[in-house]
């Protein structure tokens, strides 16, 4: 949120770029909504990381030998993809937070 340093000064009016009137900030309220939505989403993606099955050394019935190894490798890739997505969401949250703060 924009910080008010002088309590006697009129509060800056939040408006969107291109709106009429005095422009004291480029803050977009949709960024606040985005920030609010990214928190729970980040937690959800975090839970998703945990729900990807862990690697298994045990041979599981139908998956033996090369098939088993290939499946484990595919699972590893999947886990990596979810982790990268989690990082992207975390980055989006941090960037949005900064945009709101500096807006």
């Amino acid at each position: 949120m924009p910080r008010r340093t002088d309590p006697s000064a009129p509060a800056p009016r939040l408006c969107h770029r291109g709106q009429h009137g005095p422009v004291t900030s480029t803050f977009d309220p949709r960024l606040a909504v985005q920030l609010a939505a990214l928190g729970p989403l980040r937690a959800r993606v975090g839970r998703l990381v945990e729900s990807v099955p862990p690697p298994s050394d045990a041979r599981v019935g139908a998956w033996t030998g090369a098939a088993h190894e290939s499946f484990e490798s595919a699972l590893g890739e999947l886990r990596g993809q979810v982790l990268t997505a989690a990082d992207a969401v975390a980055a989006a949250q941090a960037l949005t937070e900064r945009a709101v703060r500096d807006g």
Partner: protein, 471 residues
């Protein structure tokens, strides 16, 4: 002890370990959650869509990260859904392969058995069920040495304990199952029945001859020499108690199976009767395992004679005793009944369910040599077997593909107890498997359990133990 379960049957071709099922369900969950995340990210991305782009570089970068996360999670959704489908497909293919191998193995063992009977009558004896040979030796010992039956039994017990490693091998169990199933073919070879006719009459053809024929022959010939000779039986209730709770799931039922050796009077059966509001009384019936392994029938009904007669699908002493106990407990042809049996109890439970004389609503067998007894297709059946337990193999190849079979190698990678000949057949070990089965994630097992469980309100309940005796 190993805790991995393999679940097959239930009218489905797939054979899957519970771990495999759990993994495919986990991947389904990942796909569904990833889809939800993709939806949320699309909503977030749409916030900036109407106004073109945000002004600040951070906001722009955040938008790009949101889009990247959306693309990645869309990939996760499709990859995990594909992996879950591949797992299920693999389980199905594995099941198809296993069934094809089983059929091929059955054909091969039948052919080999027939050839052995035809060309090498001496060798044919070696493919006859191990029980026949063991019991024959026991009988010979009993005849040749005064009072020798007990000594022979003890000697056989020692021998079995010394060779428990071989006896508890899943390979031995599979071999025994094939040998047992091809005993009729070896007999056909010995009798010089034309091969085409033998195949037509056997399990692989019309199924007119099979394991039950071999067992019936054994009972018929044995009874002439005083072994496996059936006798009249009597049944009496011993202990009655009120206020029992209905069982749910598999483990609770298996827990209630009586252990005749540990009971006050040696009761082999327990029948629970539940009065239900607005409906016929319900019954839960529990049957224990073999008590006496002597081939000569004495006072105990749950003996080897009943085992042979039961596998022969003849009215075994324990089968007749169970029917009498059911009648005494008030079971009518319209009373809903669930049978649960261990070892010989499972064999008898299967025979009772197969008879069509009872309104059977479910059957749970534990380590039962009952693979060849044909059951109604729509009957919910759960068969628990250890792949290192010899006893179920005496029932031959399974004919009920609708039954849900839960298998576990009880002593995989674990030292075998020194005091047991076939430790994987212990009821206590099966109780552990029943607990694992209740905790399993398999859909078809859950469906079978749900079909066997009932939830009506009860107004009165009573449990009665029964003791059956010969004579």
């Amino acid at each position: 002890m190993a805790d991995g379960l393999t679940i097959s049957g239930g009218g489905v071709v797939a054979v899957a370990t519970d771990e495999l099922i759990a993994r495919s369900l986990a991947l389904d969950h990942v796909a569904s959650e990833a889809e939800g995340c993709v939806g949320q990210l699309a909503g977030i991305a749409a916030l900036g869509a109407g106004s073109g782009v945000f002004s600040s570089p951070d906001a722009l970068s955040a938008g790009r990260e949101v889009e990247r996360a959306g693309a990645l999670l869309a990939g996760v959704r499709s990859s995990s859904a594909a992996a879950a489908a591949a797992l299920r497909e693999a389980a199905t293919n594995y099941g198809r392969l296993e069934r094809a191998l089983e059929n091929a193995g059955q054909q091969l063992s039948a052919t080999l058995g027939y050839a052995a009977g035809w060309f090498l009558p001496g060798l044919a004896l070696s493919v006859l069920p191990a029980s026949v040979i063991a019991v024959g030796a026991l009988f010979a010992a009993a005849v040749l040495h005064p009072g020798g039956a007990r000594a022979a039994r003890a000697a056989m017990g020692d021998w079995l304990r010394q060779h428990r490693g071989v006896l508890s091998s899943p390979f031995t169990v599979a071999l025994l199952r094939s040998a047992v199933s091809s005993a009729d073919d070896a007999g056909a070879g010995l009798a010089r029945v034309p091969p085409g006719l033998a195949r037509l009459l056997g399990d692989e053809g019309l199924g007119l001859t099979g394991l039950e024929t071999s067992a019936a022959l054994l009972a018929l010939v044995g009874s002439r020499f005083g072994v496996f000779a059936e006798t009249p039986v009597t049944v009496r209730p011993t202990v009655r108690a009120l206020g029992v709770s209905p069982p749910t799931g598999i483990a609770e039922r298996v827990e209630r199976i009586p252990d005749p050796k540990g009971n006050a009077y040696g009761e082999q059966l327990v029948i629970e009767r539940y009065s239900v509001e607005g409906g016929p009384d319900r019954f839960e019936v529990y049957l224990g395992g073999t008590v006496d392994f002597s081939p000569v029938a004495s006072g105990e009904v749950w003996d080897l004679t009943s085992n042979v007669a039961g596998i022969a699908e003849l009215p075994a002493g324990s089968y007749r005793a169970a029917r009498e106990a059911l009648a005494d407990a008030g079971v009518t042809p319209s009373s809903p009944v669930v049978f649960t049996g261990y070892s010989q109890g499972g064999l008898i439970a299967t025979a009772l369910a197969s008879s069509g004389d009872y309104a059977t609503e479910g059957l749970v067998t534990v380590g039962a040599p009952a693979g060849q007894i044909l059951l109604p297709e729509r009957l919910p059946v759960i068969a628990i077997e250890h792949t290192d337990d010899l006893v179920p193999a005496f029932g031959g190849h399974r004919v009920n593909h609708e039954s849900v079979v839960v298998e576990r190698e009880a002593f995989a990678g674990v030292p075998l107890p020194a005091d047991r000949a076939v430790p994987a057949h212990d009821l206590a070990v099966y109780r552990r498997t029943a607990e694992l089965a209740d905790a399993a994630v398999s859909d078809r097992l859950a469906r079978a359990v749900s079909a066997i469980d009932w939830r009506e309100e009860i107004s009165r309940s009573e449990t009665t133990s029964y003791l059956a005796e010969r004579g």
